[in-house]
Symmetry: C2
Subunit: 415 residues, 2 copies
């Protein structure tokens, strides 16, 4: 866990080891079963040792991958026990996709001795190509054999596509008088590449919490984490965030709002923001993580929208790639954000581990040293601070720069 960016929640949330296997009640595995052409891992399994409370959020794209429809049905009762996820093929806009997703659930259920309606199924990869059941028939029994507390790394690797590294985290917190844990893994690279990327995130916890409260915590948290990242603005057809809660920590069950729900939500927010930052940092072709912090906005929704608009601007992203403190592009992106707010009195600063430079005051140019600005922008994490000076709400969004490599990766991905 990146302690530099711990959220200041007022609760003690400590780093832990083991990713999605850190909480009691979960094992995982990841293998190569031949869905991808190369021999890299392409099938992941997370298994609960009991029926878990489950919650999920899905892509807003009207074109949805077949696995999303099946998962949505399976999770409708607020319960699930396992997650099976392949990379290399999105099982979207392909013939027989829903049947195949159901067959994958059945194979997983058979191997684990659970009901097929308790399996979460997910896919990421190329759209429009038929996915065969054969690799799953061979792979799922082998995955079952490999399940273990050390399997989190392999699972986190098996869901990757164009990502350059695993994204994984675990934390520890106290709720209901017990030590609880939460682990998560995610893949990108971006939200956002509908062909070979897709944002997927799977989170586990041993806290005991009702499905209703679990869904509430997840739905609130994604607004300030996964929904605040963008690599290229292209919302995938297969995006999915799923959380399973085993209850194995033995805390008194969280069934209503209050301190225990708040600490749980804080842990979930920390896990989600960490994974979101990792996703943005590893965006296709990215060389820099860009964070935009909007402060003193009239309301929270506006702060979210303005920060996301700034990190989504291709022009700003290209400027950051070129290490050019082109603040006019920040003002421009703020200006085309929907909503009713003033653009008369906006301050902009750019900041990194190498210092901070004030570039705009009251929506006007502020003299600064180009040398100093270039030094600040030469770091690999850039924070753009926007003070709207018209309220007290704040929010952050995370993106990455736009590089030659983004064009290269997406210009000839399939060939």
């Amino acid at each position: 866990m990146n302690n530099e960016h711990k959220e200041n929640t007022g609760f003690e949330i400590k780093a832990a080891e083991g990713g999605v296997c850190a909480p009691k009640g979960f094992t995982a595995a990841g293998i190569s079963c031949g869905i991808k052409n190369n021999e890299s891992k392409d099938l992941a399994l997370i298994a609960g040792d009991c029926l878990c409370a489950a919650a999920a959020v899905y892509t807003s794209n009207k074109v949805k991958g077949a696995p999303l429809e099946v998962t949505r049905r399976n999770i409708a009762d607020g319960r699930a026990q396992a997650v099976i996820c392949n990379s290399g093929n999105a099982n979207t806009c392909a013939p027989g996709g829903e049947k195949l997703a159901e067959d994958v659930c059945a194979l997983t259920a058979e191997a684990l001795g659970i009901k097929k309606e308790d399996v979460v199924v997910s896919s990421t990869g190329v759209i429009g190509q038929e996915l065969s059941l054969e690799p799953f028939k061979e792979g799922i029994p082998r995955l079952k054999e490999g399940l273990g507390k050390e399997g989190g790394k392999d699972a986190a690797e098996a869901i990757l596509t164009t990502d350059t590294r695993r994204k994984s985290i675990a934390v520890e917190f106290n709720a209901g008088g017990k030590v609880c844990r939460m682990g998560g893994m995610a893949k990108g690279s971006g939200m956002i590449n509908p062909n070979m990327a897709t944002m997927l995130s799977f989170i586990t916890t041993d806290a005991d919490i009702s499905p209703q409260l679990l869904q509430r915590a997840l739905s609130e948290t994604v607004k300030d984490s996964f929904n605040q990242i963008s690599v290229d603005g292209d919302t995938s057809t297969n995006d999915m965030v799923v959380i399973l809660a085993s209850g194995r920590a033995g805390n008194s069950i969280i069934e209503k709002e209050g301190k225990d729900f708040d600490v749980f939500s804080s842990a979930l927010r920390e896990v989600s923001v960490f994974l979101s930052r990792e996703l943005a940092r590893d965006g296709e072709g990215a060389t820099k993580l860009i964070e935009c912090l909007v402060e003193n906005a009239p309301d929270r929704e506006m702060a979210r929208a303005v920060s996301k608009s700034v990190i989504s601007s291709d022009l700003l992203k290209a400027a950051v790639f070129g290490e050019d403190a082109n603040w006019g592009r920040v003002l421009c992106a703020i200006g085309y954000t929907e909503g009713d707010f003033s653009v008369e009195n906006i301050d902009v600063d750019m900041e990194s581990s190498r210092g901070r430079v004030t570039v705009c005051r009251e929506s006007r140019h502020k003299e600064y040293s180009e040398e100093k600005a270039a030094e600040v922008l030469s770091a690999d994490e850039i924070k753009i601070r926007v003070n709207m000076n018209q309220g007290s709400e704040s929010a952050s969004a995370w993106g990455c720069d736009l590089s030659y490599d983004y064009v290269r990766i997406n210009g000839d991905y399939r060939t």
Copy 2:
């Protein structure tokens, strides 16, 4: 005029020569007066020999260039007689911008012997840098001296920034028993680069038409032309389309809807679509023009939104650059367009001067020859045909591919 892409309106609209000077009653000039660092042209003037009916549309960005505010006031009475436009500095977010724009109007009015409230003022270039009046003091009298019927080319050149070529057109049509002409010029490169680009378009006509009808025709036309192009999704602070009508053709004035208004609107649409295509084709770093034609949509607004969503997708743009028939990215971009429509039965074809290939039927992969697809995509104008199969409305949008050069141009523009 590109006859290959003439709109089929049922009216005879013929190509003409002379750009904005083609209509009776207009002269133009363009010079270098030192606003740009290099010695290229940076100041343009279009002068009417009488007070003209005038209409305009402006950027939706909440951050607006100072010249837009002044122009809006000057044009409020539906009348104007001249357009003065500089490139090299946007006069936006800079101290004293509105005063400067008013002084530029006064200098122009003085040189031409007209009222300063009848001048349209416009600027494009870097945001946030103070613009001096000195170059205008020296340049405007010189512009006045240079005014002539041959000045359209110089004027069209003087408004360019990162554009690689002039965009200019003229047409001829019959209205109210008289031959009327319409001319236009525009600059990009894109809508869309708030620092050195901005979409500007100035159109002249000698047709006699009331300011109300002129505004109605313009507002309707931009929905299917200038508002349907995108290079990078970044809406500039200074975008402006202005039309002046001198009435010198001597037609009976167009004061109400009817055949004359329809033929006028058709001519305006032809001029606007031509300029829009030219702007998209010359987008920063562009190597290909991408057109998306959406057919059989439930309503016109939806057709516009879906086509614009497709040509705005970075992923699709990069795929076209790489000449990869990645139709999954088309479906994905359709799917995240806002609105209530079905994504179950969508057909996609890709087409160019080198042939046509069917890649998707009923939202599913359709077997095609990759060789043939690569051949189709190797042309420099690519048309993506989307059949939504759920209505009878259609619309087009125009964009360009995303290339290494876009990143290069925007990564180090100012330095």
